[in-house]
Symmetry: C2
Subunit: 333 residues, 2 copies
């Protein structure tokens, strides 16, 4: 096997986030429109306009789970690539800029249909929890044709977000990418993304984890939902035998990394104030995979993961504002 | 005189900020393109594209000096209005949303020329200082026709940014607004905006302050530049006799409020870490004018001003992310 040119290629829904602090009352009121607190809610174009009118002032930042992960991976100094679909519009240019400007290889062709770049209206309650409301727009047009086989073959790890199972063609693209990666003896990584997303695609995700995934990321709710069990310990006992590595996050309780041979507990990195949890899991995966692709042990991978997550939750917005390579160096010193 | 319907109407260049952390090296390199560190640099469309390509990942947030001021004024609970020109595009909608959603009256017609909404690429060095690079776009089309006389007559204070002197028609709009306000026995307030801007329009600004301005905002560099003196004390002695109130800011040294009768020194509000100074002066003016329109004494106005500035410099982005009315209440308790 030749040395991979890229440490990590991530594939996901290319989304620009519209982030706004909000109140618990606003989230409660919006329940009548189907908004589930703390979840990623899929909405249509009409609802997107109505919600934007109803919500408070916002800031805009490139997002998308896998996009956030590759941005944080690059911030650690990793060489990365991204596959995802934007529209031919201002937000699409913003998304492209924010990856290219940190050295991430990104050249998926934008849609020619006139669909707009996806946007997620992210409402942040005073506890820092985010409730996402996503209009997928151009993302539903990501297809197997967008999977650059040569790129996947040249990446140590290909990382896929569970959210890709929502648009049907993207799911096909997902399977194609996983197949190419394994045929090239590369690793495949998956994040379960969201417990509601797991609910929508449970059987497919179980099969995926068992047969196609080497490194799994999930939070406590997601892994419990995947195996329909009541406790974290039960979920952990099951997942242990399903893939090579499972990195399971538990918010302020830290995380647990499970392999066939060992269970490694990682403390959460302390944060003065949790401002916005958007992107926490994405940054965690980035830190872990940066360590992994550098050949680090599980404890070190976990520490880098926690460090990245802590940076991202200390400000509004889903991607690092500090240089993670510098933070990691300071921490090590 | 009837009671004003609005506490404050602000008029300015309607701009969306594109904010990016950067290095001192990047700013130094860009000096060859005419970029002055810490200043508001005006750039053309071509340079805007080239700079965007060269700069790092960014977040987008509604900005514009007077826009930031009215947003912070509304966050204190004040009733405000705004006049400024955007394009018929996505960024224009964002700008409009971010004012309307906090209850600010804003109905200036967007341009019909096809010009884009103004954007400012704001580069933030590790010390929190911001260097702005502004493409004025649609702002150059703000004209006297956009001044809503009834609105100005119904505002206790009309606040104008010095930056309006850069586009020639906007300058005319500025004079028209000031005249309407005074004819209705309302107050006129001005911020000098930027020491380079003062350099471009010194004579006009001196005449303005002397004959048309009741409440002046300036930082140390701006007021020294206005009167071409070397020390803050000299500038203070001059400005004292030129307008009713001058509120002069000195970064971490706090601020000084000067009237004919008294000089009130205000301490800077402590901040754990200065992340991004963008909007600090705008927020200061908002806090001061909120106190002023509520009939508070100079010391209280100054404290509200410092409180608002401290909130804004503690995160990336030029407008408050917390509710200033709540911060003020906590501080008073």
């Amino acid at each position: 096997m030749t040395k991979a040119q890229y440490g990590l290629t991530t594939i996901g829904n290319a989304i620009v986030d519209i982030l706004a602090p909000t109140t618990e009352e606003f989230i409660s009121e919006q329940a009548k429109n189907g908004m589930a607190r703390g979840a990623m809610n899929l909405i249509n174009a009409e609802r997107a306009l109505a919600l934007y009118d109803a919500m408070g002032p916002a800031t805009q930042a490139s997002g998308g789970s896998a996009g956030n992960t590759i941005a944080a991976f690059a911030s650690f100094g990793g060489k990365g690539a991204y596959i995802g679909k934007v529209g031919k519009d201002e937000l699409g240019k913003v998304f492209q800029h924010d990856l290219n400007s940190i050295g991430v290889h990104y050249n998926t062709a934008p849609v020619i249909s006139g669909s707009h770049t996806a946007r997620s209206m992210i409402l942040i309650t005073p506890d820092g929890e985010r409730t996402m409301n996503t209009f997928l727009g151009a993302c539903v047009e990501l297809s197997p044709d967008d999977i650059d086989a040569e790129l996947i073959q040249n990446s140590s790890v290909t990382y896929l977000e569970g959210y890709l199972f929502d648009p049907p063609l993207a799911m096909e693209a997902f399977y194609k990418a996983a197949k190419i990666a394994h045929e090239a003896s590369r690793k495949v990584s998956l994040t379960l993304s969201d417990s509601f997303c797991v609910g929508r695609h449970r059987k497919a995700f179980q099969e995926l984890v068992e047969n196609h995934v080497d490194i799994l990321f999930a939070n406590e709710e997601e892994i419990k939902s995947l195996y329909e069990v009541n406790t974290f310990e039960e979920a952990l006992a099951i997942v242990k035998n399903k893939c090579e590595i499972a990195a399971l996050t538990r918010s302020e309780k830290g995380s647990v990394i499970v392999t066939k041979d060992a269970v490694t507990e990682i403390k959460a990195e302390p944060v003065a104030k949790v401002v916005d949890t958007t992107g926490a899991g994405d940054a965690y995966a980035a830190g872990f995979l940066f360590g992994y692709t550098q050949g680090k042990d599980m404890a070190t991978c976990g520490k880098l993961a926690s460090l990245a997550a802590a940076e991202v939750i200390s400000h509004i917005g889903p991607r690092p504002q500090a240089v993670l390579a510098e933070l990691a160096q300071k921490k090590a010193a």
